[in-house]
Symmetry: C2
Subunit: 388 residues, 2 copies
Amino acid sequence: MAIPKSSQAFPRSEYLRRLAEVKLEMKRREIDALVVTTPANITYLSGYTSKSGYVPQGLLVLLEDEEPTFITRRMDGPAAIHQMFIDPSRVIGYPEALIANPDRDGYDAIIDFLLDKVGNRGIGLEAKFLPSLTIEKFRHRAAEARIVDCTNAVTWIRGLKSDLEIAMMREAAAISDAGMLKAKEVIRPGLREADAAAEIIATLVRGANGKPGTDIASFFMCSTPRTSTCHIRWTEDIFRQGSQINLEFSGVRHGYTSPLMRTMSIGRPADHLRRLHDGEVAGLEAALAAAKTGGTCSDIAVAFNATLKKHGFEKESRCGYAVGIDWTEPTASLKEGDMTVLQPNMTFHLMLGNWINEDVGYVISETFRVTDAGGEPFTKLPRELFEI
Amino acid sequence: MAIPKSSQAFPRSEYLRRLAEVKLEMKRREIDALVVTTPANITYLSGYTSKSGYVPQGLLVLLEDEEPTFITRRMDGPAAIHQMFIDPSRVIGYPEALIANPDRDGYDAIIDFLLDKVGNRGIGLEAKFLPSLTIEKFRHRAAEARIVDCTNAVTWIRGLKSDLEIAMMREAAAISDAGMLKAKEVIRPGLREADAAAEIIATLVRGANGKPGTDIASFFMCSTPRTSTCHIRWTEDIFRQGSQINLEFSGVRHGYTSPLMRTMSIGRPADHLRRLHDGEVAGLEAALAAAKTGGTCSDIAVAFNATLKKHGFEKESRCGYAVGIDWTEPTASLKEGDMTVLQPNMTFHLMLGNWINEDVGYVISETFRVTDAGGEPFTKLPRELFEI
């Protein structure tokens, strides 16, 4: 007996549509094979979300083949057969002899396959994210081939979501909302931060509207006296009357995220925090109004920065980034000077966390899609500084 | 006002001891500065566990300085001041202009610092884990310096734990045990896998013995019909009478993990699974008996493989690896031919997951430390095939 296919997150036609876009780009770059190694891009082109990226693996898109071929550690093969939309024969497991072996690794199995299939033609690599020794290995072993850097080629394509993907991100957003409401419900003086985190994370896993979370994404709970930090999970401290809590997390549906940030206060927030909140919310609304088809990422940042400045504040860091599978897409940035043109169903995390100095930090964010009428957020939560 | 120091996981003397070991190795390699970029190694040498590794950062160990210097994105500076044992002046935040900038990034800030401090002397890099463009940048901008590959130099040093670290791993192990007992308690026919995962993960966050979990490590729940897979989180399916559930997860204490695997069965396990379990447990006991000071990693693997074979089974993959901060240490492997000599307080994940074919997979594992009398496991759980 063989392992059955899992229920698929998207229909086959959706994966073939994505692959068609990728192959069009491959033709533009005059390559015959693309070696996709970024886990989020592998998910995008196959439905695979199993966590085998700790060892070399590659989804190989060949111009001449309708379906890609996946080369992975043998023990991870069954999960790929189970989850990927492709025929089981297209999953190739390489042997254990290539694990923890200084001379040959999984990339050698990938190169063997390429030499057999495309020989000395053009091969695209996501070079920026590969170790230097791996790139040297490709150059050396496929010396006759033309090696082309295709870093972020697939990532730019997945920047533009289909309606099916937007629906998936809305499911993730409903889970993010449920997590934030759970935070508001459980946080109180005397509770350990870890116990609140446990409740919120359990909510993110249980999901919302009958759709469970399918993974755990990043999770940050930065509370007094560390509200000026942004990437601490939680601590062993307890909440106190007057504590401020900055939260950032996301529900996950089949790889897709929809990050959300809100600030909470146990008791009445300090006046300076309330003023900062008002400025940031005004900036958020200005940014969403600017997030129209045909505008640019820069327009969004300009609108946000100008509005925040009117309120007497500044934010040093960019005000967001493209978002989707596995959170951040390292492509378009919401910052002044990023001239990426906005198209319908591009999705961004409008990330307005503002860590002003060692004493003051405030967070609010929404994930949205671009429409002709401006940015449409996925969250249904109010833009409040939640008072507990 | 400045952000206060958090309560520290280890005393200052422990970090200085670790740094002394690293500096000894730097002298052997004739380098004046070591650029530590692996997050687990940064945790090891400073206590920092905030998640800023998504952008360039480096902990710079200089022979001439008692304390290292940390260079990170400016917004992540306060977390480093809060968590690291070093003086706040040794945390340097680089500006936002280096984020999402194709020309200059955080590594340029690191190189600027090195050129100023060590000039054209020897600089060590954890090269294997750096992007090729980054290594080129070091070679180009620090052209006069001698660049030395120090991949895994710190990782080998942290392979040998202090008693303080062993105590921390025991705390993590108690959390792993609590998670496994929670799994046995909640899994039942009709429950969604996601709901069981939520309960188990919440337990891992709440912790055990008054010590909360401080992070979420990897978590895998591979149930019928996908017991032949190893790295799927969980699914939207429900458990049924007769389901088999393979679990792998770990509690986390200040970065330290103590992974644990067990197999559960709803109802009486099939005979072939029971036989496989008996063989694996016999192999586990033989492996622990061989894990004595002065032996080798290979000895452990030989003992396990020979015993399993006597029971009529084989395991293709290695039977474990060095373990500690952030789970796997990419150094010593429990496989035949790995001649790493065992020393007291080396710690390993004896990982006996055995995914035999597309139908059959079984898991059991224990994290242990090497002693003169053999491997001493951290878990207090019985070596059972848990029947629910």
